[in-house]
């Protein structure tokens, strides 16, 4: 039985694969289209957005849905560092990397989506802030989170890379590593409070949508339900990344950690579903779950995907890796639909108004997702991100020492932190 002991880079496989070039091509096309969008505007063929549906994929999917998936950094982190769940430390680096990529591509996408991005500089002048605006809270907290605590949390693998690969810079990197360890608790706590704040504010956004958001979704507790959904989405994303690594590069899986992740996912989903139903019941809107046609169907689709997957994960079958993969994928799908609903699927903008993304809008959206995927693929091959064993590290060291003579990956004397 494999026990994860340390993160080990994916070694012995090329970085420049066919997939790499395909993603890069999509990114280049997307960036060219983005440049065109900056000149000609957002309407017409560039997007399917209109005055009633003023928000399209770029905000509702790339930011509101994908930063939900990228919430592993705080959802897994809180369990590991605040609630002292030691089993989760091996997957922290995967969680942090996915978070970092999801947030940074989301923020860039936001810059493309807004019509007058040059006015964003007001964000550094607090006296101009409208403290009542949920979007302001997101703009401030999200950029602060992505550029300070989340960024810092992702540095240790980079420091290690420098230490191993560039001995001439080793002193500086080791100094940085030590400095980081000194302030680490302050950084991680900031990395948890900020996402709790802005992930809930993403839900608060649609409170101002009033009764245009269907009553099954519209509630004063939307912020709480939204951040809670981000929590299980974060777990789904981490599990899927680890299992995909097994599929792609035959990385061993630690069943103890996986079962712990399953257990936490199941409890977050159960409490989330329970709270959501309680909210609907207390508001007296439960009959809408049966009478409102398309909206009722959407509501039950979400519930079935999320709750059904969690149930499967809680059974014996959920321990089988293939079932586990499928259950987490479907759970993530359900959670993503939930995060997409208040802005789009369950948003009755205006009688007769519909929204469907245009081809250009879709390509730009996908190209920003591709940046994150490409970044992930390169990072796990260059840096120690994916969890592995000490034995695997030794094998990797043996391989690397043949390729790059002189590199020291083993035999370090203990240093006190």
């Amino acid at each position: 039985m494999t026990r994860w002991e340390r993160s080990v880079p994916v070694y012995g496989v090329p970085v420049l694969t066919r997939g790499f070039w395909a993603l890069l091509a999509l990114i280049v096309v997307g960036l060219v289209l983005t440049a065109i969008r900056e000149v000609v505007g957002i309407g017409g063929v560039m997007s399917g957005m209109s005055d009633p549906f003023a928000w399209g994929l770029w905000k509702t999917f790339n930011v509101m849905v994908l930063t939900g998936l990228g919430s592993g950094g705080f959802a897994v982190g809180i369990a590991a560092w605040v609630f002292n769940n030691k089993k989760l430390h091996p997957v922290m680096r995967v969680a942090l990397l996915t978070s970092c990529l999801a947030y940074w591509t989301g923020l860039c996408m936001l810059g493309v989506d807004v019509g007058r991005p040059w006015n964003f500089y007001w964000v550094v002048m607090p006296w101009t802030w409208n403290l009542h605006s949920p979007l302001l809270e997101i703009a401030v907290c999200m950029s602060l989170y992505a550029s300070v605590p989340l960024f810092l949390e992702n540095l240790p693998p980079l420091f290690e890379y420098i230490i191993y690969e560039y001995p001439q810079w080793r002193g500086i990197a080791e100094f940085c590593e030590k400095a980081m360890a000194k302030v680490f608790p302050f950084i991680v706590a900031l990395a948890y409070i900020l996402p709790i704040m802005h992930q809930s504010s993403l839900g608060a956004l649609m409170i101002l949508g009033g009764n245009r958001v269907h009553t099954l979704w519209q509630t004063p507790f939307l912020p709480l339900i939204y951040v809670w959904a981000a929590a299980f989405l974060g777990y789904n994303c981490v599990v899927l990344c680890v299992l995909l690594a097994k599929l792609a590069w035959k990385r061993d899986v630690d069943p103890v950690v996986m079962l712990e992740l399953n257990k936490l996912t199941v409890w977050i989903v159960y409490s989330w579903t329970g709270f959501r139903f309680l909210d609907i019941l207390v508001r007296g809107k439960i009959l809408h779950a049966f009478t409102d046609g398309y909206y009722s169907l959407l509501f039950w689709t979400e519930t079935a995907l999320i709750l059904g997957s969690a149930y499967v994960l809680s059974t014996e079958k959920g321990k089988k890796l293939s079932t586990m993969f499928l259950a987490h994928a479907l759970c993530a799908l359900g959670g993503m639909i939930y995060r997409f609903s208040p802005t789009t699927l369950a948003f009755h903008a205006k009688d007769g108004a519909t929204y469907f993304p245009s081809a250009v809008e879709l390509i730009i959206s996908l190209s920003f997702v591709s940046i994150a995927v490409l970044g992930y693929l390169v990072a796990v091959k260059k840096l120690a991100i994916l969890p592995g064993t000490n034995a695997e590290w030794l094998k990797m060291a043996e391989y690397e020492e043949q390729v790059k003579p002189g590199i020291q990956l083993t035999g370090y004397a203990p240093v006190e932190h």
């Binding site: 302001l136 504010s201 083993t410």
Partner: protein, 313 residues
């Protein structure tokens, strides 16, 4: 690692402090939320009174509006007539027709910014790109503070702000009650009220308009839908008031509660009051993470002694 009783108590106290603080804040929540007072219209609040029963649908107000605001007429429908299908970035004011399928009943209606007393758009706007004049209560757009996020369009229950979907320098376009031309002395009242041949739309102070509307209802019993002035309380009250014979929902006015759109956020604001809750949570998490991190680093060093591999943070 064994823990002495003293340490156990200390940890318990440390851990329960933030929880206690969080508890205090959350029990105080309902009161705090209530304390956020209901917004009142400013003393000199200006507005419009539109009486749909008087409107003949001549659309002169649309033409005059474009002229007064230097807007290009939107002739995109047929290349000749100024006939926009809805409010858009060429059109701050529009006259539409409600008609039943068999033609038995109809009513014209006008759409423009309602100049809410507690505007959703302004509440949504990040840096105050949409603002309310302190004296007149007119809601207007300031381009230098607008990021173009279009949250105002999501937050407006009346679908008023229009975004310019073309070009690299888009604007948010909406009725500002001819604020600028009036301030420059170019005109004394908005274009639409100036040209209206039947006085279907009139301009003035909100309180005067409200009195006028109520006297019309009193003078013509049974003429007006629900004997009600739309905008007196709807959505927390608006400075543009409506009278209609047909249902308000038929003429594009949504059914809103007496609570304003931003008041939906009062609980969220209470959570952020003085940032007390986030700061308490942060302090608690620093304490726990600090303690757990110490134990974890210790474990890492021990591990390295055995394996000779560099510890990973």
């Amino acid at each position: 690692m064994a823990m002495t009783r003293r340490e156990a108590f200390k940890n318990l106290a440390k851990g329960s402090l933030p929880i206690l603080a969080a508890g205090c804040v959350s029990t105080a929540l309902p009161e705090v939320a209530h304390a956020e007072e209901e917004k009142q219209a400013p003393k000199g609040a200006l507005g419009l009174l539109y009486d749909a029963t008087k409107c003949v649908g001549c659309k002169s107000c649309m033409v005059k509006c474009s002229e007064a605001n230097d807007l290009k007429p939107d002739t995109r429908t047929d290349g000749i007539h100024q006939a926009p299908p809805a409010l858009n970035y060429f059109t701050k004011n529009i006259i539409k027709l409600y008609r039943t399928a068999d033609g038995s009943d109809h009513s014209y209606f006008k759409q423009q910014c309602m100049h809410c007393i507690d505007p959703g758009c302004m509440n949504a706007c990040m840096f105050g790109g949409l603002r309310k004049d302190e004296e007149t209560g007119v809601v207007w757009w300031l381009g230098s503070k607008c990021v173009g996020c279009r949250y105002c369009e999501i937050a407006c229950p009346f679908h008023i702000p229009a975004f310019q979907w073309d070009g690299f320098n888009p604007k948010i376009v909406k009725c500002e009650l001819c604020r600028e031309p009036i301030a420059k002395g170019l005109r004394t009242q908005p274009g639409c009220t100036e040209v209206c041949p039947t006085q279907a739309v009139i301009y003035g102070k909100r309180e005067d308009l409200l009195k006028e509307a109520k006297s019309r209802i009193a003078a013509n019993p049974g003429r007006y839908y629900q004997q009600k002035v739309y905008g007196e309380h709807d959505g927390g009250g608006t400075q543009v008031l409506y009278l209609s014979r047909v249902g308000f929902d038929k003429i594009g006015l949504p059914e809103l509660s007496e609570e304003s759109i931003p008041s939906g956020l009062k609980y969220s604001h209470a959570v952020y009051k003085w940032l007390a809750l986030p700061i308490a949570l942060y302090a608690g998490m620093v304490a726990f993470a600090g303690k757990n991190f110490k134990a974890h680093s210790h474990h890492l060093v021990e591990d390295q002694k055995k394996t000779g591999l560099r510890p990973q943070l």
